[in-house]
């Protein structure tokens, strides 16, 4: 009996999570500039979206930063996770503490911190500074994903490789990395979406011509709730759904000997 109430509640909870987003998607087809009352179906806002050059520029900026951030974070994160795994590291506690900071500190502290750093060093703000800030905060997440996978990973395979005479480097290259591949991809995808979705870090470290998509959306929302934002939101929602599905597929794959 409790099961039925719980199921009903689950529906309600999912409804709470999805209703505003779905309404937003619905309104993106509404032929009315300001009202939420349905005035007819239209694709105008999507057309306007496609011809909005500033928006596409922001999309391009966001993608460039996100791909670069994902690549850098993944490389650095993988190296860090491997180094911490089953090695004697003097000063391990400090490293762990350092890795812990970006996970626990609010983004705004990391954001103003980065601004202070770049300004004090006289570094010009732009896409580069946004990228640096994104990588700095994503490494910890990649490490987290990899360590979860390393913990589950069957150590015997690595030991077997070494017993068969493989050097540590060969072990890593031919055994560990292939086994970690899904987690590395998942970590990369995580870093990618974190960068794409980031607002506050970009807010403080952006310079002229370095507007990312969230910053552009913020500007659009602040200067008038145009229905173009509804259309844009719909597109982003669908893309996110796809990325999320991909991520789950990647993290699900277990050891396949």
């Amino acid at each position: 009996m409790k099961g039925r109430w719980l199921k009903l509640y689950a529906w309600f909870a999912y409804g709470f999570l999805y209703l505003p987003i779905l309404i937003l998607m619905l309104l993106s087809f509404n032929a009315s500039r300001t009202s939420s009352v349905w005035k007819g179906f239209t694709l105008d806002w999507y057309v306007k979206l496609l011809s909005n050059d500033l928006l596409w520029e922001a999309v391009r900026n966001s993608l460039v930063v996100a791909v670069s951030a994902a690549a850098l974070s993944t490389v650095l994160g993988t190296m860090t996770a491997l180094a911490l795994n089953r090695n004697r590291i003097p000063g391990r506690m400090l490293v762990e503490g350092l890795l812990y900071l970006p996970l626990i500190l609010p983004d705004i502290v990391l954001g103003v911190g980065a601004l202070v750093l770049f300004t004090a060093l006289g570094i010009k703000l732009g896409l580069g500074t946004i990228l640096a800030a994104h990588v700095g905060t994503s490494i910890s997440y990649v490490v987290m994903v990899l360590r979860a996978r390393l913990a589950d990973m069957d150590q015997n395979l690595e030991d077997a490789a070494r017993d068969l005479g493989a050097t540590p480097w060969q072990t890593i290259r031919y055994v560990t990395l292939p086994l970690l591949a899904p987690a590395i991809l998942a970590g990369g995808l995580l870093a990618f979406t974190l960068s794409l979705d980031d607002f506050i870090l970009s807010f403080f470290t952006a310079g002229p011509g370095a507007t990312t998509l969230p910053l552009r959306i913020y500007g659009m929302v602040k200067t008038g709730l145009t229905p173009e934002v509804n259309a844009l939101s719909t597109v982003l929602l669908l893309l996110t759904g796809l990325a999320t599905y991909l991520y789950q597929r990647l993290t699900k794959n277990g050891d396949k000997a």
């Binding site: 500033l54 006289g122 703000l125 732009g126 002229p208 507007t211 500007g219 709730l225």
Partner: protein
Amino acid sequence: MQNRWGRALTALVLATTVLAGCSSGEKKSDIPAVTKDPKVDSAKLTKELNVFNWTEYLPESVITDFEELYGVKVNYDTYSSNEEMHAKLKAGGSGYDIVVPEIYMIKVLQREGLLEKLDKANIPNLANLDSQFKGLPHDPQNDYSIPYMWGTTSIVINTEKIKPEEVKTWADLWKPEFKDRLVMPDDARETIAIALRVDGQSINTTDKAALDKAKERLLALKPNVKAFNNDSPKDLLLGGEVWGGVVWSGEAALVIRESDKFQYVIPPEGVTLWIDNMAIPKGAPNKYTAEVFLNYLLTPEVSARLSEEYPYGNPNKGALKYIPETDKKNPAIFPAAESLKKAESLDDLGDEMNQIYDQIWTEIKG
């Protein structure tokens, strides 16, 4: 999997290029287009220009036209207050080529050595400025700044919700029936000025006691304030979130254009009269291109398009012939000289005083 991605991507790219040609549905302007200025030295133009301007102050079409005429990519960022722009410039390394501060902020920037001297040989259209805006005391030779647009900051009301008789003076804003119904500028100097006016003080006072009193007054006004908004108070007004408030004259004019139930009120105690100016920050990476852009903005047809979209006062005498009669009669855009008798302009009060104003403002907003 790769194939599907590839196809989807191709489809998206095709859709973009096809539909990009479609009209975005923007209103076509009656003002004639501008052609390329033959005197511009294309060899000296750089590939990019970084412009930092107020929100809702420069139409996108003006920017894209410039980009097409001169092959320059314009990066356009916006700010909501003089202080915000100042904060970015002070931090250094901002990389902006053009900023648009109000006169008092021009004085501050000049004092701090943050402005470049303009090469007026590249800006012959300076001659188009109306004589009223030439030889202004802060920069009589236009060595550092060029007037961009001017206006007032005053009260706008939705007459369906607030009757005109109810709001005649600044003090009326404090009426308890306006609880949670007003929008105020998110601007330290402008909003503190309102309280100072109620006390009969100058908006440039340095008297600490008067300022403390103004702070108390504003804290008492807070229950009536729904939001502090510089970016787009017109949306709050048109959307019915607020019934009235204090806004820039251009915002009021836009709101009045949309619906005649709005009215711009100029109280007898006076309003703030301001002139925003174009300037080039020190160390701007694209100075020549910036000067070409300034010259472009001073052509009558371009200037007219500025005030066509954002109806502020236009200092360009060549542009006046393009401004419609309805705008010329709109008191929000061209207020009667009578109503401006007690208008005051903001002044630079020095670093220490500015910090005190900042502090008061932080305390009010908290």
